[in-house]
Symmetry: C2
Subunit: 682 residues, 2 copies
């Protein structure tokens, strides 16, 4: 508000960059890594367990396939990381998969990717929170005993934090993420040292259990199918890898190079942790089962419903560090924390994607305002509501939720990589420089392999998981796709309807004169102000209009009108039903009928109040009248505001709201300076 | 809509009376009786039982006090009827107790009466529906087995019917009410004939039960207190008597006389039915207990929780007509129906009282519109919500709910009668005519006795029922009173704030010039219309303002602006955050700072749409901008509407809404023709 003096300057040179968006907020790699990697890294907290869990269907003997499945996941991870390194180089604007797919494959592919990503954000919240609760529960039994309420409570807490607009900072991400990474590496190294050097035999809490295979002696196609299912469960480790491609503008320069490097680091960390945990799980004889209550046996008897199957990472930590030790609890806490951070990333990504979709008119137009609080709030309430629903339906069971999770990720991977292949093809058509061409051909090869591999995984995921829950995710995508298509169609139809004709005289019968009407109830300051303003604007005819709902009040009004010598004619309409709207509408319609080419301008004094409940006490009749008047062609409605003293409170609130920063700005980077536009022609 | 041609005539002579409000809708006595008496007459369905129920505390021997209690109720009924006959003569305008108390005892007494009546309306719904369900349940066991859901379902159904605006007709009331009255009289006469003439011994279903007295051998003060409690329970028969005093305008002429006659008829019917049912209950050995499960004994053992205590009226009907006979079922159905009608009267009275209170600025001003659908809807949703809450909390148990009921009734009786005494005192001071004085003195005597008697009953009710639930009703009254006082205080404060000074120059620094700004996003029809209108109104300076959120779009806009040769200067403000609101606000504030005495007039093209969901897709930015602009002093905001094709749907809906008639109009009578006002001075 202190900057009002430099308005003329600002009008000339455009809005000044806000200080919080200057260079210093750009992320160095050591901060960018935790900001973007909390999501993909946190998935090693649940992905290894999912692999063992599926393998257990064929009995514990199938566990020896797990290194091969881990290897397949590692190859896939390297493929995806290598592919996305091409994306961040080719599309440094941060549009991500949606932009790549839309640009190269057309709007339908783009919208498919967007739908998949929106579903994925919901599942990121549901899966991460559920898994976080399970990890926390391995150290704090209370939590796992009240899993669903705790998980829903965590979502509500995250939602409130984000609605309040807690300012994100790189540090907030750095500490838990590095703590988690260091903890896992410490565990892997200490486990390797104890096992390989000291020769200790470490035992996970479930090492003494036996698994009752659901299908004994699987072989042939059935075994292959089971292995593919285990592999597609392991692919949960890849969720969130694409996040960096949305965040290139937040990196320090050289942006693309730094983003690519961070992506590589993240991939390396993820596969090491994933393999290390699987390895330790094998070494410590972890047993996981899909239905632990009946498929895990202790001394030949099922462990029963009271048994809690802890996540692999915490079982391994119990074996390596010892159950309940300081390091065990610390790792459990860090794991839970990094999973909650992963959930939080969805709270930033969901409204951001929404704003991009709004720009393309797939979502309500007003959402496109960057950092708009209301749009942001609607987005995160929708996100949180859907996540709570899923958590509630699936009992906060991360294993069940993961069945829904991976489809969307691989839909966007596949379409994005396919788009990149087209991208290079298009550029190769025009590029002459042999060095650049070589580079492009190499990139195209990587993306082609990426598209092929992720597409294959998508087919595997669909085939192995469709009945297990993937159909729910697909249904969600279809709903988003349908809604967005309908919105876009509506906007297109309206745009066509309101398109201006080439001849400027598109208003049938150009308006000729203005008949101004000031609505008057009593002679108080708001009325006097409205009269003064209406007089200032020189219309062809000006009159005051009052609806008589009480003869006594009308008499007082007329007397005062004359006493004050107000030189505007006062017209009074009788209203036996004490209605206000109908007599005015009828009168205005009558005027329009008399002289159809006139425009009627209605001035309504409006109270500006400070509290929501005051709205119930003021302006309701005015609002309703305005609502009705708008349907009458050839009418303008002018609000002449009168600021009541209480409006100061609302003014301050509005100012605070305007100064609000949307969470997630740290990963979005500063606003791009647009090429300067010469301003104004007048 | 076909009447648009006679607008000039209507402006001259005022609004024509609608046909549905002409003389023929005035009520003859034979229709007025059921319309107004369904509430008081229906209370004989529960009042006799309440008397027996309280007496049973002292054992079945205390039942022999019941004729004396019935006598006291009869005396009270005659007193109240005689008193209200004075009211309807003195206040034929239909203001009822609120008007009488406010006029004669001041606004605080009036507001107390209003609070009591509002609470009473809620309880009328809760008690009548609960009792109706119990009566229906005596014929249809399913209903009583699911008492709470059935009662809540009935309230919801009534609410929906009233929200839809089902048109009330006298017949709707007449058939069930006369059926009920005829049925009860038939029962009394047939019972008397069988008992006295044929000498039959009739047995109620509970005649073979014994009552375990909670207090054996009560005497002295304790017995008196119990008898007073039984009496105050019997006073439930008086609820609703005051309704006629609100409805005098609905009667045919001579209004007051007809209303007084109807009142007398109603009183006579009520006491006859009340006494007849008590008498039959004695003759057929009905046993009622407060806690039937443990205090009713069959062969010495408590009947237990599965026992359903049917209402006295249905027990008597079973004894007289025989259980399950056609007449028994018919009477049960008529009783339930008349009780539902009684509940329905509250749906009419509550919003009507609300509109009167709104006129006196105790409730939001817009509620005063007679028959305003929105206000009406809010009122009945509030009423239904409170009634559902009570039914749910008290398990749809009419006995428990009646404890809350009678306080409010007697608060308004007492204050109204006290007010009437003052009324006569005041008139006696000026009246000279001896005949008129005699009449007034007689009326004063009646009202004095009424005030004294009802005041005494109020004390008895408070003393005997406070801990049994009357405190809840008092709390409700305090809440209503407090809220309405706060609203009135707010309106008074605002009225003071906006009162116009005597010198006409109350706008600090009279505005000198108008600077008009047309907001432009694209060059489509809505924009062109807004430009055309703004040009038509001759302001001192006119410019178009566009916020550049996308350089490409801005470029297109500027090119088209020039190509079309629009002779209004176009100013473009840069908005890197894609915000619209802030740049406009800052620009307007800058203008105001440059020339503080100028008025800024902002024209916003607004889309008029037809469906609620389209609102989510349009105008949101405009609305928010408008909301912010109103806080800036010296700014007017003009909406230039553009009616999209889809707005036709909303127009039709609005028309339908405007033609809606509020239920309850039948009992309110036609609109009073106000003395003709000369209209217009211009």
């Amino acid at each position: 508000m202190s900057k009002l003096t430099d308005v003329p300057k600002r009008i000339l040179i455009g809005r000044a960059l806000r200080s919080d968006n200057l260079g210093e907020t750009l992320l160095p790699k050591r901060i960018a890594l935790p900001v973007f990697a909390s999501d993909p890294l946190s998935s090693v907290a649940y992905a290894p367990g999912e692999v063992l869990l599926v393998l257990s269907i064929a009995g514990v003997s199938a566990y020896h396939f797990s290194p091969w499945i881990a290897l397949a996941v590692v190859v896939l991870m390297f493929t995806v990381v290598a592919s996305y390194r091409q994306n961040v180089r080719a599309y440094p604007s941060g549009g991500g998969d949606y932009e790549v797919a839309t640009t190269n494959l057309g709007p339908k592919a783009g919208l498919t990717v967007a739908s998949a990503l929106l579903v994925d954000y919901v599942l990121t919240v549901a899966v991460s929170i559920s898994s976080g609760v399970e990890n926390l529960g391995s150290a704090v039994p209370f939590v796992v005993e009240h899993k669903v309420p705790v998980a829903i409570g965590a979502i509500v807490l995250l939602t409130l934090m984000n609605l309040r607009g807690v300012k994100e900072s790189g540090k907030l991400f750095a500490i838990p993420t590095y703590l988690f990474v260091v903890g896992v590496f410490l565990m892997i190294m200490w486990g390797a040292y104890r096992g390989l050097v000291l020769g200790d035999t470490m035992h996970a809490p479930t090492s003494d259990l036996e698994i009752k295979p659901e299908h004994q002696g699987l072989a042939g196609f059935a075994l292959v199918f089971l292995l593919l299912r285990a592999f597609s469960s392991g692919c949960a480790a890849l969720t969130g890898v694409e996040a960096i491609s949305n965040g290139v503008p937040a990196f320090r320069k050289p942006k693309s190079k730094n983003a690519a490097t961070t992506l590589a680091m993240m991939g390396l960390l993820a596969v090491t942790m994933f393999c290390g945990i699987i390895g330790l799980a094998m070494a410590t004889d972890v047993k996981m089962a899909e239905n632990p209550a009946k498929d895990l046996l202790r001394d030949g008897a099922a462990v029963g419903g009271s048994f809690v199957q802890d996540p692999v990472i915490s079982q391994v930590a119990a074996a390596v560090f010892g159950d309940g030790t300081f390091l065990f609890v610390l790792l459990a806490a860090a794991t839970a924390l990094v999973l909650f951070l992963a959930a939080n990333t969805a709270y930033n990504g969901f409204p951001l994607l929404g704003s991009i979709l709004a720009q393309d008119r797939y979502l309500p137009r007003q959402l496109h305002t960057r950092g708009d609080r209301l749009a942001f709030s609607n987005g995160i309430v929708l996100l949180a509501g859907a996540a709570v629903l899923l958590v509630w339906i699936y009992g906060a069971d991360s294993t069940k939720l993961i069945q829904l999770y991976i489809v969307g990720v691989f839909v966007s991977f596949t379409l994005s990589q396919t788009g990149m292949v087209r991208h290079w093809n298009r550029h190769l058509r025009t590029e002459k420089d042999p060095a650049a061409r070589r580079h492009m051909i190499r990139s195209r090869a990587i993306n082609t392999f990426g598209a092929f591999f992720t597409g294959l995984v998508l087919v595997v995921v669909l085939a192995t998981k469709f009945t297990h829950g993937a159909w729910v995710a697909l249904l969600g995508m279809v709903l988003f796709y349908g809604t967005m298509t309908a919105i876009r169609r509506h906007y297109d139809r309206v745009a066509e309807e309101i398109a201006a004709d080439e001849t400027p005289s598109d208003e049938a019968g150009r308006p000729s004169r203005v008949h101004s009407i000031v609505l008057v109830s009593k002679l108080h300051r708001p009325t006097l102000r409205a009269l003064a303003y209406a007089k200032l604007i020189r219309s062809d005819r000006l009159e005051a209009l009052s609806i008589s709902v009480d003869p006594q009040e009308t008499k007082v009004l007329k007397e005062e009108w004359e006493r004050r010598g107000i030189n505007v004619p006062l017209k009074i309409l009788d209203s036996p039903y004490r209605e206000v709207t109908r007599p005015v509408i009828d009168y205005v319609k009558g005027l329009r009928r008399e002289s159809p080419r006139d425009v009627v301008s209605v001035y309504i004094p409006e109270y500006v109040v400070g509290h929501w409940y005051e709205h119930l006490l003021h302006n309701q009749s005015a609002l309703r009248l305005k609502g009705r008047l708008l349907f009458t062609p050839g009418v303008m409605v002018t609000s002449v505001p009168y600021q009541l003293e209480s409006s100061e409170a609302a003014k301050k609130r509005a100012r605070r709201r305007a100064e609000w920063n949307a969470p997630g700005s740290v990963r979005r980077g500063p606003v791009e300076r647009k090429p300067k536009e010469p301003t104004g022609k007048g």
